[in-house]
Symmetry: D3
Subunit: 133 residues, 6 copies
């Protein structure tokens, strides 16, 4: 990356292809500007477009509501230690209705899952036949 690749791509400097994605994000999410994530992905317009298209489809309400999806996204991001994603999906989950109490319980589950994942690994526990039915 050149130095400019470390800078966000602002709307005024964006190509028509990038602007079209920004416009769709703003319209879909009812926001005035897009987050830094999109402004940095914009250095690769194909990845910007593909990622937005996938996220728009995946995060739409379906069998799971938006808040549940954002909490799952947040749980994975916490487990992986991605600071940007913890901040952005934490904000998104709160916007979708996650209360402080819900966040506390989510964190307790994420912590315990990370603990028991290693207990199961270290004790080399075989899968119970009943789980495969």
């Amino acid at each position: 990356m050149t130095m400019s690749a470390r800078q966000p791509v602002e709307y005024r400097d964006a190509s028509p292809e990038v602007r079209a994605v920004y416009d769709d994000i703003k319209r879909t999410r009812q926001v005035e500007d897009v987050n830094n994530f999109w402004k940095h992905l914009a250095h690769d317009p194909a990845t910007l477009r593909r990622t937005w298209t996938s996220i728009k489809e995946i995060m739409a309400p379906g069998a799971l509501d938006v808040m549940t999806k954002e909490m799952i996204y947040l749980a994975v991001s916490v487990s992986n230690g991605c600071e940007y994603c913890i901040a952005s999906h934490g904000a998104a989950a709160r916007k979708a209705g996650m209360s402080a109490a819900m966040f506390g319980e989510l964190m307790a589950v994420v912590g315990m899952a990370n603990e028991t994942n290693r207990l199961a690994n270290g004790y080399r526990v075989p899968v119970d036949p009943a789980f495969d039915r």
Copy 2:
């Protein structure tokens, strides 16, 4: 571990301390026998007791219902690649009401979160000030 440490501790061979935990698991979960996870943890009765006490408290319904908690547990386990936990918490989530459609959406979110966690890392995206408010 000696060879026997690779074997599950069955109820008939368990100490009173271990049996008391098994009994509480069976009563709480209304099951006839405990899973392999507990039977292997039983080689360390202190960890068996502490882990069960914590899980019993964390996984009880609260601000989040049991199915949502099990789905978060499953999402973390999938992200970490823990086969035992994927199988056991997949079974627990289905028992708590997770449909095939919900599982499909959960997996789509887990996959996308793992993808965008790395996009955020690799593009070194700075946290938006708005997320910290």
Copy 3:
């Protein structure tokens, strides 16, 4: 890899360069044969030699004794979920003196570290200035 690349390289089929490494492993560790790890690495003799040379140096007793080093190796392998390494360094730690009680305590620490690593991530806890002194 061709099909044969999935097979271990046995001493009788090994090149003189590979045999020299096998001989040094057997002499250093006082064993009659080398583990599968080395027999598979042997498909790349440069990596076999470099890895053995590094491990021989790193795992020798120093400021830390061999059992402590093997327990650290095991703790990392459990955390990463590497089944081969859990089995092989579990065996090595027991051979170096790790008792069943020590293993139980090691696992409890590994589990708790994995839990609190995520609690620190998710709550985005800032480093205390005192730690940096």
Copy 4:
């Protein structure tokens, strides 16, 4: 979290339940104030209490001494890339007696374990039957 959820909970602002945990930490560890980790966990008093109770039990001297336990905690935290935990458990291990030479050897083992975990994965090395005895 609201904005205040990003702030530490200081003793003067804490509920009696949280103060009781802070008091026990200070007494047990002979320190004048608790670390940021506890001050942020305090937003969820149940998790604060449960985590402290577990850590107090797990990190007490037993079959393994405190320094060895702190080094295992540090090794896992380095492997997971948790900066807060690297800083806090690095400080705790040094306080418990870890010398600079011991830290250097710990890091060498952690680095090598992370390397060979991937070599074992990538070469798909089967577990030696001898390890399972």
Copy 5:
């Protein structure tokens, strides 16, 4: 998942939507049947379609050739310890021209990167200003 969700979806049992994806995979890759990955994803036709569309776009030759892309895919899969992906993208990389010598060098780089990632974490090395230019 019901029991059948653990089974692959074969062409003869697939819906028209799933068959259309299978046909495009077979045509694009010039293969007679699709891999297990696709046959299991087919339980969620939306994820099957979206994943294939993205992979088809991402893995096409561009600024990087197909073999380089498959080697990057393999390197990440080895690092994450995903056995299925190691096996499938190992086969794909070999089909695209990766020799045994190339694989050996790839593994050496993956191993070393995993080691130095942890050395950089553990020594808490600050980013050199020169890297950000």
Copy 6:
């Protein structure tokens, strides 16, 4: 670590053993100073020497060219979320010829691999027999 252990070891303060490594790095890479990574590793001269010797051997051109090796190194570092290594090996890959377009494609592959690694885990997809041939 003492306070000084958090500081880089500069050439003027280094022991002859450390200076010899610094000199070899500067000569091999044709640079005027070594990166922070080496200046922090220098607190453990044995690890400094061993790590440099291994990297010098592994990263030399062979069956794979230097740019491809640096891209694999970068891909692993992005996947692991090691900020220092992302910055340093990003710079090294660009120096070795990686264009902005190549970086974009590398990131797209890394993202997709992290996604499909979890899809394969979560759907518990069995390895196709054909991959093992």
